[in-house]
């Protein structure tokens, strides 16, 4: 999984997401979800990490199921009747379909994100057509994100040691308390931007439109097979659904 070309994984995640918006059949959704859990297992990523990442998806899925009967009460038989809250079996199954869809998309992107190092991700996007300068900005962002998060923590500590209490007050006050943290942080970020732009000029950025790479991406045989399979099966299925031959 980790050795699969990032381009294939990116295309896979995107195609899966597109496919999901056409899927409403509970059987198809469940089978695909199961297949994806196998992929997740194959990533070798620990259960703790998976649990933490997927938890938000599970929560949203449950919320959809729970509140659905307030607004969709169509169909028979009626399972539960509590004034405005009427649960019918078909409506319940519809809410389950949405829940599975959410979980499916979450699983697919989990596989992509947790088996692809950042540099490969950006390289893959660029090779798929993203403009090289945008890819550079994204690489810069990924590199400085942890650093800025640390900076914010450091400044929080510094302000706290000066007697600044960040935790008092309601949400509005708490948010406003971030301003003395943000001003230095943004100032540091802007200084970083100044330095970075000078570094880029020094490194000869823009001298030639075509860039060469030290480590390039190569598609192996397996990559090609997977890519071709995804790129043909998914549009084919969607086509069948659109034309009415199959109810996805």
């Amino acid at each position: 999984m980790h050795r699969v070309d990032p381009r294939v994984k990116i295309v896979g995640a995107v195609m899966l997401t597109i496919l999901c918006f056409f899927l409403s059949n509970l059987v198809f959704l469940s089978v695909l979800l199961l297949l994806l859990q196998i992929l997740v297992l194959l990533t070798g990523v620990g259960w703790e990490t998976y649990k933490r990442t997927i938890w938000l998806a599970v929560r949203l899925a449950l919320i959809f199921i729970l509140v659905w009967p307030f607004f969709d009460q169509a169909g028979e038989p009626l399972l539960l009747d509590l004034w405005a809250y009427k649960v019918t079996l078909p409506a319940f199954l519809r809410s389950v379909a949405v829940a599975l869809r959410i979980l499916l998309i979450a699983s697919g992107w989990f596989v992509l994100i947790f088996t692809t190092p950042q540099s490969q991700l950006v390289r893959g996007l660029v090779k798929l057509g993203l403009r090289y300068d945008m890819g550079l900005s994204i690489s810069i962002a990924l590199r400085y994100l942890p650093r800025f998060l640390d900076t914010i923590e450091q400044i929080k500590e510094a302000q706290r040691s000066r007697g600044f209490d960040m935790d008092r007050g309601g949400p509005i006050m708490k948010a406003k308390n971030y301003i003395p943290i943000l001003i230095p942080t943004v100032a540091i970020a802007m200084r970083t931007a100044e330095e970075l732009s000078q570094v880029l000029v020094c490194k000869g950025y823009g001298a030639s439109k075509a860039r060469t790479y030290l480590h390039d991406l190569h598609m192996g045989a397996i990559d090609c097979i997977i890519l071709v399979s995804i790129a043909t099966i998914v549009p084919f299925l969607i086509g069948l659904d659109v034309l009415g031959f199959v109810q996805l």
Partner: protein, 185 residues
């Protein structure tokens, strides 16, 4: 020497740093449980970018910054986030720039937040109510409205608070770091 189609080194650096700031602020706050799992200050950075750097940087940093985080924690929102956050930043930046010359800067920025923020609130509402459950809700009414309505107060607060902080932050930065004007196109 420099290709005119590509961004300048300065723009690339500013965009990279703004993406990182939007992403960082999107991660920073998680105090209130909600359907999206977080109430965040990402909006602050998007509006800040709109006021200081204009619509292109604001739109792109909003979309990519929030998109990066969503790809990890909420990929089912990714299509919406990319389009909505880009529009939010782009529109706020357009309004801020267009109305700058009409005097009261705070009022102009507040208006930009209002319009840009409305795009975000309405956008996510429609996405959660009708697009996420698309093809399924045709069966019976607007089942997705439930989840969308739950989300509504959080999104509204996020925009209002994020926008307020952004306006205060921008004024603060312009005083503390006037050199920031050099980084503008």
């Amino acid at each position: 020497m420099h290709d005119s189609e590509l961004m300048s080194p300065r723009e690339i650096a500013v965009l990279g740093v703004m993406i990182a700031l939007v992403a960082a602020m999107t991660l920073i706050i998680v105090p209130i449980p909600a359907t999206r799992g977080y109430f965040n200050l990402g909006e602050t950075m998007i509006f800040f970018a709109a006021f200081v750097f204009g619509r292109k940087i604001a739109g792109l940093s909003g979309a990519i910054g929030a998109g990066l985080i969503d790809a990890i924690v909420a990929p089912y929102f990714l299509p919406a986030t990319l389009i909505i956050k880009f529009s939010e930043g782009f529109v706020a930046g357009t309004i801020a720039d267009a109305l700058k010359k009409y005097g009261n800067l705070q009022a102009v920025r507040a208006f930009a937040v209002e319009i840009g923020g409305s795009i975000m609130i309405i956008g996510y509402f429609l996405y959660e109510a009708f697009i996420l459950p698309i093809g399924i809700t045709d069966g019976g009414g607007g089942g997705g409205l439930g989840a969308a309505l739950i989300e509504l107060p959080w999104n509204i607060s996020q925009v209002l608070i994020g926008g307020l902080i952004a306006i205060l932050l921008t004024t603060g930065i312009e005083k503390a770091y006037p050199r920031i004007a050099d980084l503008r196109s």
